[in-house]
Amino acid sequence: MKKKHKDTIAGLLFASPWIIGFLIFTLYPIIISLYYGFTDFSIFKPPIFVGLDNYKALFKDELFIKSLNNTLYMTAFATPINLLFGLGTAMLLNMKIKGMSFYRTIFYIPSIVPQVAATILWVWILNARYGLLNNILKIFGIYQPNWFQDPNYTKPALIIMGMWATGTIMIIFLAALQDIPRSFYESADIDGANNWNKFIKITLPTLSPVILYQLIVSIIFNFQIFTQAWVIGEAGGGGNAGLFGGPENSILFYATYIFYNAFSYFKMGKASAMAWILFIITAFITWLVFKTSNKWVTYGGE
């Protein structure tokens, strides 16, 4: 008993640097931000309790609704597109051909390029007049959109940018694909299954736990999209450069609007309220995904 007690104390002491850091820099800010969400707080003066005023004001705020819609759009479209692209790339890179390690490196490298640098690069690739993509579209006689000035194309531009950096998704899928026992496919071959049947009946069910993980991580990532939208707003060139949110606020995302409320408008209370609303929405969607996962996720041994 005494030894167990001593071991517990020793364990806690070893873990204490992390515990203290967690309490001060993570848990405390989380709890205090919940309180700030009910206050009028600018960081320069003490907070004044205002009850639900921040939450009421948010639901009347056009830019809040716009930022939420934009973020939900990205989550709804970018998530499945990136997962499909990541999985497709992983399957291609799972083939047994010469030089495969080189190809895997090439496909992975974009995901380690810093987001800011990658975004500045893509601002030029997607330039309406001189960009590489529009020049390719021109060769095929396809309409060349004004990617960063036309509000209908700004989010699709971001989705294209996101597809380029799916290296992390790809590598996780690749590892999972390599874990699928070959005997499953051999049995399927004996039974006369074609590639599509093998993909639907073997690959997808076996990958389903990994897909679940990737889905949740991607949803959370897309709910927090910030860097690309910020850099495009600052580096996007003429037009409305200097006005955040892009053309008609089409790339005003939730996280960017939180930032502006906090540091440009000095509305820390409103920003805190927004952060908690985001947490509730993300938690709800994550719960929904977990709830439905019983129907489509099969774990090993089932």
Binding site: F44, N146, N240, A241
Partner: protein, 429 residues
Amino acid sequence: MLKKFSKITVLLLTASMVSGLFIGCGKAKPTVAVVKTDVNFWYLWGGAEGKRVESIISDYNKSQKKYNVKGLYVADMQKVKVAIAGGSGPDLTDDFNGNIASYADEGIVEPLDSYIKRDKIDFKDSLTGVMDTCKYNNKTYAMPGGVTFFMLFYNKKLLAKAGFTAPPKTNTELLNMAIKTTEVNKDKSINVLGFPDFPFVYYHSNLIASFGGKLYSPDGKFTPDTPESISALNLLRNYRTKFGVDNVLKFDQSGKYTQATDPFMTGNQVFRIDGQWLPGIIRNDLKITKDQLDFGICPLPTLDGQTATQPIAEASSSIFYITANGKNKEGAWDFLKSAVISGVWDEKMGTLPIKKSLLDNKVYADIPNFKDFADFAKQATFVSAPANAKMVEINKMFGDEAELAVTMKKTAEEAMKEAATKGNTILGK
């Protein structure tokens, strides 16, 4: 005997100690080192400009014995604000005049009227209207570091090519010249942009001012729906309708502001609304010669039928403010007086001075096209929107509505009426 001897010894020792003290006092004065008190000055300028800031600081430190200004380049304004909030911010820092009202409302800025009155500083020599950029609710909260306003740049060669010998004076002349100087490719994409559409962010409010309009009424209401504001938007709408919104926007995307790809620098833009820094960037930074780009500068056009005798321009400025929780406000004020109010800052940084008497200073002789801006400043009246704590929010909303007007999603009248309603809701009026 021994007792008597001890008594004498003690007396003698005491006497020698006491006399030693007096000797010490009489012989040499005690030396007290003069210690300068520190003044923390955080500034936004980096690179070559940052070096000039440090040179100003160094000269000031050498010129007096009371204060030691310590400069620190802090590019991130959020960092400055958070530091001030946490009590570890600077004594003096710089910002843009549009922010001063919200800072004053938050109580982070030291009012300067008592310092001005105490040291008997007058601003009679200041350019008309410039000191208003630092006031809020009739109190002075900052000092301007140079004045910024915009003029119309034009490409002389492209203008002459279209048969024009002089730049436009009115909105109608500008539109006419812009249309005639625009060059379009076979696929209707624009090769040379006639209109000062790029960068759009400098366009609207500056034209409103030159048209004689105001964005705020005397009672502080937001009034973007004036005829002048609507005329400025319709001018741009008319141009974009002629050549296609999509084509103009694609052109706007083709270059990066003040970089080598900037359409004015590449000779692909005829008219441009910009500030006094542009000639320096063209000639000194990008090394574009007169043969490559010969440009002129003139005042922004007025509205047809206007009979104003004095040109009007919207002014803004970089400002310096003393933080309310700064530890050395007197030191910060002394530096402001010596380096900024005196005009030394403007001389060394090459910014347009706020003092009329300094506009002809020889130090500006090497700055490209400085004279164009100085000559205009001598005769102009400068206006600025009265500071309010919601300015950042209002400017964002105003820009959004103006964008809808110039992309034809709304008429200019609809957009500006909506902007007025929303702006006054934000202001609580």
